[in-house]
């Protein structure tokens, strides 16, 4: 079943450093994305900020600790907390990452890649089904930024994602920066990646900055969106049409105005690309 893509527009990630701004002077953004885990058990200022924001703009819940690919059972505590948060926030979308991050009950708090094999696929299809049944809604999974490839992998990441979306009936959060970073680090062509993903499964996009560490690109979210990623974003829009887009900034976080300016640039680029497509069509 094709994914219904909500017309959210252009948003930014809600970050602790910007809480005072959201309380006193809400930014001109169409929607915000919040890190689910930061609000699962909070009752103080984080909760108050989210309570206010959800009354003003749509909210998307984005998790980092579901650990959908881990071989150990999904955490019942986590699923209960997430389900409770979903009921309260009533988010436009719910997403997490195509990764694993737990081992023997321990959280590594990182997004570790999976071998792209039939075994991983079978495992993920079952687990995504479990989460979607629990939440009563579709889950979107984000393509990871990767620094290594497993020797056992038997398919490309875009082939893996397409098959996962088809078999698990889940959605895709396409992180454009991650496509660029992984392409450089693993040596694949981003064009081939974009051509291979299931366009009708993409619910929204992420944009972010990365850091050139010489031998590899680090998905640092510590800088403005680079020009090369903006260029890739134009390509994505050319293939998908208008897609809700979010700018992430998690390290060396600047004033909120700077993040909002990046989001406005995404809106401007989308308008340009749609206008160009209309002119070409006519």
């Amino acid at each position: 079943m094709p994914l219904e893509r909500p017309a959210l527009g252009h948003g930014v990630g809600l970050r602790t450093q910007h809480f005072p701004s959201y309380l006193s002077d809400p930014p001109p953004v169409d929607w915000v994305e919040v890190i689910s885990e930061n609000f699962m058990s909070s009752g103080g200022r984080p909760r108050a900020v989210l309570e206010k924001v959800r009354g003003e703009v749509p909210v998307v819940l984005h998790g980092v600790s579901l650990s959908i690919g881990s071989v150990e059972p999904l955490s019942e505590r986590y699923l209960a907390d997430l389900a409770r948060l979903v009921r309260w926030v009533e988010p436009a979308l719910v997403s997490d990452h195509l990764c694993w991050g737990t081992h023997r009950g321990q959280y590594v708090h990182d997004l570790l890649p999976l071998p792209l094999t039939e075994e991983s696929l079978d495992h993920l299809v079952a687990r995504v089904g479990q989460v979607q049944d629990r939440l009563g809604r579709r889950l979107l999974l984000e393509n990871p930024s990767s620094y290594l490839r497993y020797r056992d992998s038997t398919m490309s990441e875009w082939e893996f994602l397409a098959e996962l979306c088809r078999r698990a009936d889940c959605g895709l959060l396409l992180d454009v920066n991650n496509v660029f970073v992984s392409g450089k680090n693993l040596g694949f062509d981003p064009d081939e990646y974009l051509a291979g993903i299931p366009a009708d499964r993409v619910g929204y996009l992420h944009l972010a900055g990365h850091t050139d560490r010489g031998r590899f690109l680090l998905d640092s979210h510590a800088a403005p969106v680079p020009e090369a990623v903006w260029a890739l974003y134009r390509q994505v829009l050319g293939r998908l049409g208008p897609v809700p887009t979010l700018v992430e900034w998690d390290d060396h976080v600047p004033p909120l105005e700077a993040v909002v300016a990046e989001s406005c640039r995404a809106a401007d680029i989308e308008a340009e690309e749609l206008d160009r497509a209309r002119r070409l069509a006519s």
């Binding site: 309380l23 885990e37 930061n38 699962m40 058990s41 909070s42 009752g43 103080g44 200022r45 984080p46 909760r47 108050a48 600790s65 881990s70 071989v71 955490s75 505590r77 986590y78 907390d81 694993w100 081992h103 023997r104 009950g105 321990q106 959280y107 590594v108 708090h109 990182d110 570790l112 999976l114 071998p115 094999t117 075994e119 991983s120 495992h123 620094y147 290594l148 490839r149 497993y150 020797r151 056992d152 680090n185 040596g187 031998r215 590899f216 680090l218």
Partner: protein, 274 residues
């Protein structure tokens, strides 16, 4: 390799376990410019960095005392002793105070207490909200009811009993000053939230005993007995209780029914409407 085997290998490799270069090469594909071990090393670096950042955000004063260069090393030792067991990275520091008391930094035996203060502030920041009651809640009680009444304190309140005056290096660190070691205690601190701000303040021993009794659910007669040694116990006790109400620490006053009286329609605990 199975999925389970690759995850066990990967986890060991990034968290400091013993994994041979040959095992890494067998599992992960590298390139001449960036061999497999170096690629796994990126994840190992990120594993530590992300958690050091999280701990530094929760314990800025401890980090200032330890120093920026030593702090990652302290975090690595702590994480090996107490790896994260919760999906919220904000819960990572739950046992740092305990760890620092068992493994004190050189010449800084006060850091366990400082970590306990910072952790309490962090917990209180996120605690569930509650609507506090004012002085009128006590004024509504008759003399007999007062002795039997119990205070229902707000969730965003902690009482710390420390061996050092941890508030001193905390204050210095937050002013950007040199956080010299805390003076020996004992020191009793109340930590609470006012609006969205977290506050802490020292208590004397009598008030700390009284607050401890109130937190344990003791009747007001027992709470007030903590001030018995004061020159004017009633005056001192009343002043303390009033300040708790003024600071928003009290969410309700409940009167325990006299067991010698027939049970009322409201059961054992009858809330006072205020």
């Amino acid at each position: 390799m199975t999925l389970a085997e690759t995850q066990a290998l990967f986890h060991a490799a990034i968290t400091g376990g013993e994994v041979s270069p040959a095992a890494l090469e067998a599992c992960f594909a590298g390139t001449p410019a960036l061999p497999a071990a170096d690629r796994v090393g990126i994840y190992a670096e990120m594993w530590l960095w992300r958690q050091v950042e999280a701990l530094g955000a929760e314990f800025p004063a401890v980090r200032a005392c330890v120093g920026g260069e030593r702090f990652p090393e302290l975090c690595r030792d702590y994480l090996r002793a107490h790896p994260s067991e919760h999906h919220d990275i904000g819960r990572l520091g739950r046992r740092l105070a305990e760890f620092l008391r068992l493994h004190p930094a050189p010449e800084r035996s006060d850091l366990g207490d400082l970590a306990e203060l910072e952790w309490a502030r962090s917990e209180v920041f996120c605690e569930a909200p509650a609507s506090p009651v004012g002085r009128e809640a006590l004024a509504a009680l008759g003399p007999e009811e007062f002795a039997r009444a119990r205070l229902r304190l707000v969730p965003a309140l902690r009482l710390l009993s420390l061996a050092h005056r941890a508030q001193e290096p905390w204050r210095a660190a937050h002013r950007g000053e040199e956080p010299t070691p805390a003076a020996p205690g004992p020191a009793y601190l109340a930590v609470w939230r006012a609006g969205h701000d977290v506050l802490h303040a020292p208590l004397d021993a009598a008030e700390a005993r009284a607050l401890e009794a109130a937190l344990a659910g003791a009747a007001l007669s027992e709470v007030c007995a903590s001030f018995a040694a004061a020159d004017q116990p009633a005056t001192v006790g009343f002043a303390a209780l009033s300040s708790w109400l003024d600071e928003g620490w009290v969410a309700g006053v409940e009167v325990v029914e006299d067991p010698n009286r027939p049970a009322g329609a409201h059961g054992a605990l009858a809330p006072i409407e205020v």
